[in-house]
């Protein structure tokens, strides 16, 4: 166990990779619960695609250091655009959203295809390169995490009220437009923070799967949030350990990002099975659950 789960991470580059994956897993798991409650999976998918050209432009302008800021600019722009579009009901149609995301994505692909190291760059942007994460990038990830968790803690009641009952929340005086902008911005921030480590494509799994697995295991929000965070973090750890072990001891090169996602999917399958068994068992008992508030 020690050899499998601890030893690989005594190398500095593996240690940094582990820190980033665990922090990102916990962050994405937590934010994923908000996505689940608001049913924003498709919007999130759109965001991951629209951040891509920002990544490419940032890289073109100032190399690796520009990626974060390019992604941030694109993410902020899309968050604002999506809030506006959904607010005025222009994007109730999936089609409009699909057109928007493929357009952005194509722009990114066209831009990256002008580079000489085309395929390598494209792969890195899409699937990430967690093993080359620097100390500075780790610091950026930590800063985003602290910021997002603080916002979620501060706004948890308005966000829950809005997710549960938009009309009621509006009637109670909550500013729906502001809350939606904050939500979209938070999702964009997580996508941006994850670009280096897992790429713009795999981050959707980090955001959706831990929350879905946690939801399958519990009906209580107070449990779902920590469960999703822990699942995300553990899957990050296990995925890295597995891909390291496979390539060092078995000569099998497994991409770390992809391995993390597959571990997550396995967790989800397990959670679904556990949830089914739990519901079967509960049929025989009266449905009494944890505290009311």
């Amino acid at each position: 166990m020690y050899q499998f789960f601890i030893e690989p991470f005594t190398f500095p580059f593996m240690g940094r990779a582990l820190a980033v994956m665990v922090v990102l897993g916990a962050l994405a798991g937590t934010v994923g619960v908000l996505i689940l409650l608001r049913r924003l999976a498709f919007i999130t998918d759109a965001l991951t695609h629209t951040v891509f050209p920002g990544v490419v432009i940032g890289h073109l302008l100032s190399g690796d250091g520009g990626i974060f800021w390019g992604a941030l600019a694109a993410g902020a722009a899309t968050a604002a655009l999506l809030t506006l579009l959904t607010r005025h009901r222009a994007v109730t149609e999936d089609t409009a959203l699909a057109v928007l995301l493929t357009t952005f994505f194509a722009v990114g692909v066209v831009l990256v295809s002008r580079q000489s190291g085309y395929t390598a760059d494209l792969t890195a942007f899409l699937f990430g390169r967690v093993l080359t994460v620097t100390g500075q990038q780790l610091a950026q990830t930590l800063a985003v995490t602290v910021l997002v968790i603080a916002i979620l803690a501060l706004l948890r009641r308005p966000l829950i009220a809005r997710a549960f009952d938009p009309q009621g929340a509006q009637a109670a005086g909550y500013r729906i437009g502001m809350l939606d902008l904050v939500t979209n911005t938070i999702i964009a921030l997580v996508v941006v923070a994850s670009v280096r480590a897992v790429g713009t494509v795999l981050v959707i799994a980090l955001l959706i799967v831990p929350a879905a697995a946690a939801r399958a295991m519990s009906d209580r929000l107070a449990l779902i949030v920590p469960l999703a965070a822990v699942l995300g973090a553990l899957a990050g750890w296990a995925g890295l350990a597995i891909s390291y072990d496979a390539s060092i001891h078995h000569g099998l090169r497994l991409a770390s990002g992809g391995t993390v996602v597959l571990v997550l999917i396995a967790c989800y399958a397990g959670a679904l099975a556990a949830g089914t068994i739990r519901r079967r068992l509960r049929v025989r008992r009266p449905p009494i659950r944890g505290s009311a508030a």
């Binding site: 009641r157 009220a161 549960f164 009952d165 009621g168 009637a171 519990s218 659950r289 944890g290």
Partner: protein
């Protein structure tokens, strides 16, 4: 209709003065005029698309007025919001949402609790009392979505009661509600009125208007009557409001056929 004269004598919880609301170039509501006194209820009655929900939004201050004025508890709708509670239709809410009945009712206290503080004992007591008032105190720990439609509607009313409103707005609260839940809703509304709250109910249900409301507002974009229930719900006025959908039975009773 003596609403106008009464307004001078009694302070009104809600006052509508020639309220018009426009969506784009078309008027959704035209010159709605009337009021509700504390402790009384008014039923908004009219066909689908008559503008009942729009009028409720206007009272909540959520749609801009094209003309006229809405006065809630002596002030503007936006300023009165703390003392106004709104009950949406239960079936518009996500039944899969991971939230317990007790938590839904506690939401009625959120504005008082604020963003960061934990709920105080007083908040939890208010939520519990509200749930007792709709007869569902034993369901506090169940997930909201596991309850029947009528029970969910009662939970949403309990959430409104927990907010201790002086004006209560309900949007079609009796749609798809069983007899037991209907009685529980009526009892809870009566109790609120006794405590001095004014109530506005948008509904299709003429029987409910007779049972629970002192006044009715008949509307189909325009106002076809606003006044005491018995005097206002006349066959002629109902036919005018519902057009061809109103059918007369035995001279003095009218039923309304919905498409």
């Amino acid at each position: 209709m003596s609403t106008r004269e009464e307004a001078e004598v009694r302070p009104q919880a809600l006052r509508l003065e020639e309220v018009s609301v426009a969506y784009g170039p078309a008027l959704a509501l035209e010159k709605i005029d009337g009021g509700v006194a504390p402790g009384e209820a008014v039923a908004l009655i009219g066909p689908n698309g008559a503008g009942k929900s729009t009028l409720i939004k206007a009272i909540l201050g959520l749609v801009p007025l094209a003309a006229g004025r809405v006065t809630v508890l002596g002030t503007s709708p936006a300023q009165a919001r703390r003392d106004v509670a709104y009950v949406p239709q239960a079936d518009t809410l996500d039944p899969e949402f991971p939230i317990s009945v007790g938590q839904v009712v506690l939401m009625g206290r959120y504005r008082r609790i604020g963003w960061l503080r934990r709920p105080k004992a007083a908040d939890k007591q208010a939520a519990h009392r509200a749930l007792e008032q709709v007869g569902l105190a034993d369901r506090a720990r169940h997930r909201f979505g596991t309850l029947s439609g009528g029970q969910r509607q009662r939970v949403l009313l309990a959430r409104a009661i927990a907010a201790e409103p002086r004006l209560l707005l309900l949007d079609e609260p009796f749609n798809g509600v069983d007899a037991v839940s209907e009685q529980a809703l009526l009892d809870a509304i009566a109790a609120l009125k006794k405590q001095g709250a004014a109530v506005v109910v948008a509904t299709h249900d003429l029987a409910l208007a007779h049972l629970a409301c002192e006044e009715v507002c008949l509307l189909d974009r325009k106002q076809f009557g606003f006044g005491p229930t018995r005097a206002t719900l006349t066959p002629d006025r109902l036919r005018a409001t519902y057009g061809g959908h109103a059918l007369e039975l035995r001279g003095d009773r009218v039923i309304v056929a919905h498409s």
